[in-house]
């Protein structure tokens, strides 16, 4: 630089006394430095799924940042259209790798939703459900287990059959009905109940790592958690599952409940700090993406800041850890399946795994190592599938549109297995196959389950 002069004292945020209370909160909560960092070059536009679907500037990251700044600057009120627009974002963060200026869009959208949530006049029933789920269920291990057992009872006892048969499900909106059909069998028995809190490494130990088991993950996808632990063990890792860990808080953060997300983060950083481990392994891109940002989340908490900074860089995706540090076992399709020709497999990136945890080559490397399988890259595999946390429940129309395009690409691969690495994406892919796919020919699976079941000699399915 000819001269890198120190910035003088400048007004960091506009000194505006907003009369609109939500505008006031937005100005307070939005990181105005980040709003200024957006130079409006527009490089994010082609990366954004909602912009690609609609072609409308307000539906793009550049547009949404301009709207946030306009509210902060007093150029517009945070009216209903503004609030809807903030919720229309999938939060897939594909815009972040495309941004030359490194604008933290994911943080901005969460700050905006947090501010909106502070003033939201939810109807009483919605308020009740939000409180029940965010405060009453996700953070509480026992209640989740209870929910899992009840759901398992519902599914196994014939109650589900009765519910479906009597048409009571028709009382729910169509998209919720569709989702109910693809819910996996729940369980009240999580990974610790099944494997214990410490699981030894096979062969010489490479490192002691901890599993982040997740909340929904351990109820709805407990098998995947079990398989993750066993796969890590096969690759040479001793796995600890700290029992005091709680939900990561991602669903809270994405829905504007930042304070609750921070409370959960505080519990988690302590739980893992005490476990004496080198890595914190995540098998769900959505959870992992928040875990790697715990340093940012706890940045302003003097008591927990250091713990957050210890925690964040240790979080790693299971696939990346296997490829970079592990002894990768031999994976093979069962001889019968691959007798005449290799089994085609394809992959849908989890947006948060790819864009935030930056793990996109590792899963592909692993899939390419399965003998008897042929990995076929799906067109636009790096684009959001429309699941986006609970987006497919809150914004069914846009999610449906995105899913339809996704399944066109999936079907074009003619894959036997459509793999992914996040529970939300997995459900959405199952839903997609059910709705637009070839459900007799294609199956959606978590990449960990697929790989573990194909460890040399084991008979697949």
């Amino acid at each position: 630089m000819a001269n890198a002069n120190a910035p003088a004292t400048i007004q960091k945020k506009p000194a505006i006394e907003h009369t609109n209370p939500m505008a006031k909160t937005l100005l307070a909560k939005l990181d105005y430095d980040q709003l200024t960092n957006c130079m409006r070059c527009g490089f994010c536009l082609p990366a954004c799924p909602t912009f690609r679907e609609t072609g409308l500037e307000p539906e793009s990251p550049r547009g949404r940042i301009a709207l946030m700044k306009a509210v902060a600057d007093g150029l517009m009120d945070p009216d209903q259209a503004f609030q809807d627009q903030m919720n229309h974002c999938l939060g897939c963060r594909a815009c972040e790798p495309a941004c030359p200026a490194d604008v933290k869009y994911g943080q901005l959208i969460e700050q905006a939703r947090d501010a909106i949530e502070d003033h939201a006049g939810h109807s009483a029933p919605i308020r009740g459900v939000r409180k029940l789920m965010f405060k009453g269920v996700f953070p509480h291990r026992n209640r989740l287990k209870w929910l899992g057992r009840s759901l398992a009872l519902y599914q196994k006892s014939g109650l589900r059959a009765i519910a479906r048969g009597t048409g009571i499900m028709k009382l729910f909106p169509k998209h919720l009905r569709e989702m109910e059909q693809i819910l996996p069998d729940a369980t009240g028995k999580g990974v610790v109940e099944r494997l214990g809190a410490v699981y030894p490494a096979k062969g010489e130990k490479i490192a002691r790592v901890a599993l982040f088991r997740g909340c929904i993950m351990d109820v709805m996808f407990a098998d995947t958690n079990v398989n993750t632990v066993k796969l890590l063990s096969e690759a040479g890792f001793e796995v600890v599952i700290p029992e005091t860990q709680v939900c990561c808080g991602a669903l809270h953060a994405h829905s504007g409940e930042m304070d609750q997300a921070r409370d959960l983060a505080r519990v988690n950083v302590k739980a893992f700090r005490e476990a004496g481990i080198e890595y914190i392994v995540s098998n769900a891109g959505g959870c992992g993406a928040l875990l790697v940002e715990y340093d940012h989340l706890l940045h302003e908490d003097p008591e927990y800041r250091e713990l957050g900074e210890w925690f964040a860089p240790r979080v790693v995706d299971v696939g990346k850890l296997l490829v970079e540090k592990g002894r990768i076992p031999d994976f093979a399709e069962p001889a019968a399946a691959a007798a005449t020709k290799p089994v085609t497999i394809t992959y849908q990136d989890s947006c948060h795994l790819r864009n935030v945890m930056k793990s996109s080559t590792a899963p592909r490397e692993l899939m390419n190592q399965v003998s008897g399988a042929h990995y076929c890259e799906m067109k636009d595999s790096d684009r959001c599938c429309g699941s986006a946390g609970i987006y497919n429940v809150t914004q069914p129309e846009m999610a449906g549109q995105i899913l339809e395009h996704k399944m066109e690409h999936a079907n074009a691969t003619n894959a036997r297995y459509l793999l992914t690495s996040n529970p939300g994406c997995l459900l959405q892919m199952k839903h997609g196959i059910e709705k637009h796919g070839a459900k007799d020919r294609m199956e959606a699976m978590h990449i960990v389950d697929y790989l573990y079941e194909r460890i040399g000699g084991k008979d697949g399915r």
């Binding site: 002069n5 200024t36 409006r40 490089f43 082609p46 150029l75 009216d79 200026a101």
Partner: protein, 471 residues
């Protein structure tokens, strides 16, 4: 506020879905890629056909409402900020490739198509459309035509103007004109095609373009040369051309840029170098080898401190990283990045870079320079903070002096970004008052009511030239 009868007419032409005047649409079309400019339009319209554009223009002419036509709004001269309100016309919905004519080697497209999507299609057919502005992933062909965009391949292959051979455009009155055609020769009257290229949306709304295609080069080779002496690098540029070699790419980075890029990308670049040249040649393999060999000799003769020639594509990609990271690295330094495009005859590059560094020191601002050395087209890039008004004022003073220096060295205020709003006060320095008068006459002939992108190119008054006092 727009007249209710007017919005009613516009909605009838394009349908409710394609006309917006809600607050968020207005805010989201109040800016473009230029820092620190914002002005709200009164409505936003998305036409789907030339006929709709024509109908829209008839209505706007009747109500005397201004219109700013645009693609993705990624320009850097304030060219699509609606400073006088009115309608922003977004051309994205008109994005069809009408025809690729393999016999005449031409492509006809609607102007809302994204440049990169167009070139990808053309390349899949084994053909080549050379203009490659850095924003091509998001810019539209229409935007490229309006600004006459350049890019990295300008030296050998020319810029957008060299590939546009026919246009369909809608006049301010709503009449539709067609210029040129699939013709390599056409001297029937004034060359309206070339006149519309680079007219920044002020003369007509361009709806369709016929573009010339060329066969792609068969091979390509990449090299990097580093210099402790800025003049050595500059002389290399002149010597290469003197040796009758026209490289496909001849890019330049100065010392401030090298430092920033190295901090950002950890490339291990030598930080004491005053200049890096990135050179690429394409064509038949033997010719490429011969040219690169000759260029290497010239670099050595001009005392290049280090020369890296890539043996394969992978190594070439590595060499390209430094130049490709320049913009990103600079954009991350400070909140606001101001990228200009002062251009000089290529023999004056070293003088220009030294003048830029001198001016940056004088005004105590941070300016790094990179750009297209073969074209003499430099990108002095200031990194600042829009909220620091005092510093921004110094940056503006520095740029004023940079434009002045460019003109003094026989150059121009803008090589490829356009005049728009930002450089309007300086246009007269380049073209003179008679030139401005003539241009205004042309504008008057096309757009008597000043409805097409008003407030651009021509400033209310020309900036007084700074008297440079070197003592």
């Amino acid at each position: 506020m727009l007249d209710a009868a007017l919005t009613q007419s516009l909605r009838q032409i394009v349908g409710d879905r394609n006309f917006k005047d809600d607050r968020q649409s207005l805010v989201a079309h109040s800016y473009d890629g230029t820092p620190m400019l914002q002005s709200l339009p009164d409505g936003v319209i998305y036409p789907e056909s030339t006929e709709q554009v024509s109908e829209i223009m008839k209505v706007l002419a009747e109500y005397r409402v201004p219109v700013v036509s645009r693609g993705s709004g990624s320009n850097l001269c304030g060219g699509t900020v609606p400073v006088q309100g009115g309608i922003v016309m977004v051309m994205h919905r008109m994005n069809r490739i009408v025809e690729v004519d393999m016999e005449n080697l031409t492509a006809t497209v609607q102007t809302g198509i994204i440049t990169a999507e167009f070139t990808a299609h053309i390349e899949s057919l084994g053909l080549f459309y050379p203009p490659d502005p850095s924003s091509m992933k998001i810019s539209t062909i229409g935007g490229n035509i309006a600004e006459c965009s350049g890019g990295l391949r300008g030296l050998k292959y020319g810029t957008t103007k060299d590939y546009v051979i026919g246009l369909e455009a809608v006049l301010a009155s709503g009449e539709i004109i067609r210029t040129g055609g699939k013709l390599m020769k056409d001297v029937a009257g004034y060359d309206l095609t070339k006149l519309l290229v680079g007219s920044e949306g002020t003369l007509a709304i361009i709806t369709e373009a016929t573009l010339k295609l060329v066969p792609p080069p068969k091979s390509k080779k990449t090299m990097l040369a580093m210099y402790k002496d800025l003049y050595g690098a500059a002389r290399t540029v002149s010597r290469i051309v003197e040796a009758k070699i026209i490289p496909a790419t001849l890019e330049f980075m100065d010392n401030p840029t090298i430092r920033v890029v190295d901090d950002f990308a950890n490339l291990g670049l030598p930080r004491d170098m005053e200049a890096i040249l990135l050179i690429e040649q394409d064509g038949d393999p033997e010719a490429v080898e011969r040219d690169i060999g000759r260029i290497r000799e010239i670099c050595e003769a001009e005392q290049a401190d280090r020369i890296d020639v890539a043996d394969n594509r992978e190594q070439a990609e590595k060499l390209l990283t430094a130049r490709r990271s320049a913009f990103t690295a600079l954009a991350r330094l400070r909140p606001t990045t101001i990228l200009e495009d002062a251009t000089v005859p290529r023999s004056r590059i070293a003088d220009m870079v030294l003048r830029i560094n001198e001016i940056a020191r004088k005004y105590d601002v941070s300016i790094a320079t990179f750009g297209h050395a073969g074209d003499g087209n430099l990108h002095p890039t200031a990194t600042t903070d829009a909220r620091d008004l005092e510093e921004v004022h110094r940056v503006e003073q520095a740029f004023e002096e940079i434009f002045e220096a460019a003109i003094e060295l026989g150059g121009t205020i803008t090589g490829e970004h356009g005049v728009g709003l930002v450089k309007a006060p300086f246009l007269e320095w380049k073209v003179g008052s008679a030139g401005i008068g003539l241009m205004k006459g042309i504008k008057q002939a096309f757009d008597p009511n000043n409805l097409l992108n008003p407030g651009k190119i021509f400033a209310k008054e020309t900036r007084k030239r700074v008297v440079i006092n070197r003592g």
